[in-house]
């Protein structure tokens, strides 16, 4: 990669990608570990990003007819046991509440007391507890559909955790819907996947592939799991959102029955769908660079930072007045239906340190403004994603801000698409397949292959072989799989109706 440049983040992506990720999260002040194993603290800059993600998604959920509600944090153990695959999937890693008070123990310290008759599990997902409620609400086809979403925290006792990507507690939304017919439930499952796809591409500037999971990768208890998958900058895939068609499995487990138009008792059809704070990990690994985070303008907590550069204290007041005028002008403008958010950073710290703090946080536009800029009625600005710096007139700086931010959003999506394209390949032989996932790229030794579009016979044995030998999995089966030609399974040579997407993954 030529002569080594100084970077704000060390190590760089090509030196040690996993460690680079942790350092970006830290340097951008997005989150940090806590004293509680696997639980993170989401810091104000990271939480503001989550608030923008929530606002964007919530608007899309409401526009598609959903309302929010809130269900209990705890799930009685017996509820979890009602669906066999479901409990199998979640029992191994869940927080179990067994007592309801602490009292003084024999050695003076506090010990758990007041044992519960039935242990409660802190929700890892809410199908069973919400299902029990829906069973009471649904009597007749007139009560359907139920289209409810919940914003909540959930807990899965993961052993290896990583900020945002895999934490014991995380924040998410979980949609839970009930329908009269299979067709309606299938339509809902696909509709919400479309919402996730649109959100990932239009808001996060993160291109995603859409498709269906193989049986082995399905949500425990689902009939089918649809997903969006994004490529991270190390070539690995990130499952960024899932939408599950649950058939009648959970309706039967929870006894969600309704009287049909023909007067018969029928089990309802349900779906569930969710995305989580993991999306933030996806944004970091899609956009951040060796200097830190790069925020897509549509979700950035702030769009512009204005930094006074005052060499002579006598100039300060005039410079600050000039800056506040520019800030006010920008704050009356909109981008992506939000008012432009401007921070004036007049902290008393070294200009270099101040500038770098915003580079690392990934604010889209930085501007330094001093007496010289005031004299010239100009602004010295830098664009975070490209690193371009230029002096522009005050008028253009303000009047073109909306366009500049929109352009940056579009450019970020295009760059991410180009990266994915450059690391996607149709592969037809096992030798090439192995080489794709194991050859070290000299320029970028941390690259883990990419997306291999290969044929597959639909056999679990071939899937398992690839997984155990190369730690590569089928990320998804494209919906239009059979539109692009049949072929021979890359593992066994058996018949394949079309290519599927293989990758290493998070």
């Amino acid at each position: 990669m030529g002569k080594k440049k100084r970077t704000a983040i060390s190590p760089t992506r090509s030196e040690n990608y996993p460690e680079w990720y942790q350092q970006v999260v830290r340097a951008a002040e997005l989150a940090e570990t806590s004293a509680v194993r696997g639980c993170m603290v989401i810091k104000p800059w990271g939480y503001a990003l989550w608030e923008n993600i929530k606002a964007g998604l919530d608007g899309m959920f409401k526009a598609t007819g959903h309302v929010n509600a809130y269900f209990p944090l705890f799930i009685p153990k017996s509820f979890l046991e009602k669906e066999a695959e479901h409990v199998e999937g979640f029992a191994k890693e869940c927080a179990v509440v067994t007592h309801h008070r602490l009292e003084e123990g024999p050695d003076g310290g506090l010990v758990p007391a007041g044992e519960l008759e039935e242990p409660l599990v802190v929700r890892p997902t809410s199908e069973t507890i919400i299902g029990a409620t829906y069973a009471k609400w649904v009597q007749s086809y007139r009560d359907l559909p139920i289209l409810i979403n919940q914003w909540a925290n959930v807990v899965r006792w993961e052993m290896r955790t990583r900020l945002f990507l895999r934490t014991a507690e995380f924040l998410w939304q979980e949609g839970h819907t009930v329908h009269e017919t299979e067709a309606e439930a299938l339509e809902e499952t696909r509709k919400m996947l479309d919402v996730y796809e649109t959100f990932a591409e239009s808001y996060m500037a993160m291109p995603v592939l859409v498709g269906e999971k193989t049986e082995g990768e399905r949500f425990p208890g689902a009939v089918s799991t649809l997903c969006i998958e994004a490529m991270m900058q190390d070539g690995k895939a990130l499952q960024a959102g899932t939408s599950h068609f649950l058939g009648q499995n959970f309706a039967k487990a929870s006894e969600i029955q309704y009287q049909s138009r023909e007067g018969r008792n029928e089990y309802a059809w349900t779906t569930s769908w969710g995305v989580s704070t993991r999306l933030i990990g996806g944004m970091i690994m899609t956009h951040a660079d060796d200097d830190g985070m790069v925020m897509p303008p549509r979700l950035a907590p702030q769009h512009v930072v204005l930094m006074p550069v005052v060499r002579d204290e006598a100039d300060r007041d005039a410079v600050m007045v000039y800056i506040e005028e520019i800030a006010e002008a920008l704050r009356s403008m909109k981008v992506f239906d939000r008012l432009i958010e401007v921070v004036v950073d007049d902290r008393d710290i070294k200009p270099g340190e101040k500038g770098w703090s915003w580079v690392k946080k990934g604010i889209p536009i930085r501007a330094e403004i001093g007496q010289r800029e005031l004299d010239e009625q100009s602004v010295f600005m830098a664009r975070r994603d490209t690193g371009e710096k230029e002096g522009v007139s005050r008028d253009l700086f303000v009047s073109e801000m909306t366009k500049r931010l929109e352009l940056m959003q579009a450019d970020m999506l295009e760059r991410a698409k180009a990266f994915r394209k450059a690391h996607s390949k149709e592969i037809d032989s096992m030798e090439d397949f192995k080489s794709f996932f194991t050859m070290q790229d000299e320029e970028y030794p941390e690259l883990q292959g990419g997306f291999a579009w290969s044929h597959w016979c639909d056999g679990a044995a071939c899937e398992e072989k690839i997984s155990s030998e190369l730690a590569v999995t089928i990320r998804l089966i494209p919906f239009d799989r059979d539109a692009n030609g049949s072929g021979a399974c890359v593992v066994c040579g058996g018949a394949s109706v079309g290519r599927v997407v293989f990758a290493k993954s998070y």
Copy 2:
């Protein structure tokens, strides 16, 4: 109360107030109990109300310089033990996580396994876990103040629960701030109480008294607790929000130290403040009547319902067009900085049933619209708080909607103030005091006295006597207590610098 009128809620307030409350919550579809002891399901209509409460408060927190963040759900037992009064206050009723998986037991069912080295408590409040984080963030006076709020769920294992008022799990916000000086922390404590007072009166139309709690009623570990107290329609007080000055107690427990401007290591000064879904209980008991909920327009999930009344199916299309035109006109207007929210209810159920469902939900304005209204270009409307019904021209119905909703909001506050005034009394003898809290009102047998403004000697013994004999407590000590004259303690006759507020309470 004269001849018995038919009401949508049975029993009425005067027949059985506690049962009336539960029936209103149910009939308005705000919340319901769940299969998990003490945990509620907040239904879409109730959750939409909470979303509006959140949006209003969040805007006020941000306007006063606060940002949001998120901290872990779990608190290690040892953290809770760091502050002696604090653990004393919360250990008796907390959910304790002791295991991190379920596995098959000897009799085939699942049993808790993977015992944790240290039990975790599901946060009943977050001073200790947030304090541990702040200790890492704070090095120097330059790092202060920290002004952070968290929106979260918390759990307190209450034995007697009531929807919204007292539940094992509830939703709330908790602000946690750190300051350089005692004066700044005291100012913050009072500033956030002012925010709560403004919110209660301006958004909820719920008048509140402000003041300080007595030592016995303080938050466990606080130096002082400030509160807002509202009077419910049974004359009992509801503590609706608290703001705590924590002194250096939690800074010492969590080792939040900073290097001062003089270069010395000092403990910081902290505050915390919170309101919860209990506010919804307060709104119900302030505004609801014997027909159900009455929503203050500023927080109402929807402002107006338009209901087609179609007697001849041939008229339906024209009536629906007329209704949609009115809906569109209203939706482009604002009230209290929100777009007016209109629901067109064309469900195929009996008109009476439909109308009553909205009465019970408390939507501010209902309108019935049929062929006759279309012919007359009019609307037949009803105002929920007063019950007034009138035919108005379509133009006036639309053009005066903002004013009408603002007026309704103001009227609701005035009525609640008048109720409080009618049930508040300066009481100077023990005989009158006892009679105030024990005499049954013939007209309104469920009335539990009201607010007694009486003198108190500041003695814990007198406070305790009143509490044990009459179940009456000191709700607050007004900030301007000494401005209204000194007197003799209503219990012991000792010297009192001014009156305090006594009441029965939730």
